[in-house]
């Protein structure tokens, strides 16, 4: 279930006005993204850790949340030191590691973790409804705020529909593999989500009767 895990709490950060948190998050994130000095970036990293502590978030949950970032950082650490031009630290035939590549990887790692921690501490600790309220008070166009709130409202409905379709597919013996049949089934699943999102409720059962899963 898609849930707002950090949105509810009694910390100082949770009690702050959404508008203030959005402005602070934008200012701190851009300051961290644009700094080119590794020591200043480390300073922002310490600030982000303090913010996480002030929000009273579980460190294990926060690390788990950063998992998608770690895959990207792993790729950066594998490619950049080998391909970046600069002073060679280590060479073995064509294989070389450059000092500038390593420094850049350190900077990217610190900055990216810092920005995501700032986002987690300041934005992920409010409900989407509060976020919408904060954006509205920051003069974001009404249509955009309405779009955000309505999309959030319907995610649970569409996700429920997705689970129901998956259940139906499994009952018909669907076992996903790397083949055309599996891709076709996934395509029909995605298609049904778009249909479900577009038609009045009473038409859907009739459309579902046409979906060939097995």
């Amino acid at each position: 279930m898609i849930e707002e895990k950090f949105a509810y709490g009694r910390s100082f950060i949770h009690g702050l006005d959404p508008k203030t948190r959005i402005i602070a998050s934008i200012a701190l994130s851009f300051a961290a993204a644009l700094c080119d000095n590794i020591y200043i970036a480390t300073g922002y990293f310490i600030i982000s850790i303090i913010l996480i502590a002030m929000a009273g978030l579980n460190p294990i949950d926060v690390i788990h949340r950063l998992k998608p970032l770690f895959w990207f950082l792993l790729m950066i650490w594998i490619i950049l030191p080998l391909t970046f031009d600069g002073d060679i630290m280590y060479r073995f035939h064509w294989f070389k590691i450059t000092e500038q590549g390593i420094i850049l990887c350190c900077k990217i790692t610190i900055k990216s973790i810092t920005i995501l921690l700032i986002f987690t501490a300041l934005i992920a600790t409010m409900t989407v409804a509060s976020l919408g309220n904060g954006l509205h008070r920051l003069y974001v166009p009404d249509k955009m705020v309405f779009l955000l709130l309505m999309s959030y409202r319907y995610i649970a409905v569409i996700e429920e529909e997705y689970k129901r379709l998956l259940r139906a597919a499994k009952f018909r013996g669907f076992n996903p593999k790397t083949n055309l049949h599996s891709y076709k089934t996934f395509a029909y699943l995605a298609g049904m989500l778009f249909v479900r999102a577009s038609v009045p409720g009473h038409v859907v059962p009739w459309i579902q009767s046409k979906v060939p899963y097995s």
Partner: protein
Amino acid sequence: MQYYGLNLRSGRENNMHISEGVLSGPVLASGAVLAMVGTAIGLKKIDYDRIVHVAILASAFFVASLIHVNIGPSSVHLILNGIVGLLLGFAAIPAILTALLLQSVFFQYGGLTTLGVNVVVMGAPAVLVHYLFLPLLGKSPGLNFTAGFLTGLFSILFSSLLLGLALWFTDENFFETSLVIITAHIPVMIIEGIITGFCITFLLKVYPEIIPVREK
């Protein structure tokens, strides 16, 4: 999260988001400005009668992008920005912005500073495929699948090219990284093409009104 043997979310995320802390100030600023312009045009094209429809499609895009598809021993998740572009045109940009913001809030895919660049990376190809391939739909079943396949393939191709360009404009030393990213997305382009092809054929068969071409 595992659900009946299918991944709803897994730790291995192969997505189209550029991470925080990589891009230079000018690239971030350009992405933010372009995303704002695109969003403004998109919002102008959505009237209040249609906004709920766009919101629900944004939700469907959000949930559909969590579907994982097997490729051999690994899996990739669908992106489907091509279908959203095909269905919504310019309105796809605010829809994609909404979905990306919600993905950041729920799963931490990207943060605030790269939101603009990520909207351009996913939204610009979505609008482009709308104008390129929508006129081909509804003429013959074979052409429907081909147009759908090309929609999926080119949306991911253009997105990965834009992603590579954003990195390259940041620093010329990112050229190899850009090439790796574009190459790594080739299987995703093909899978996305096949799935978009079948999906469009399915939509034209069961609910053709959803495709804007039928309204003309």
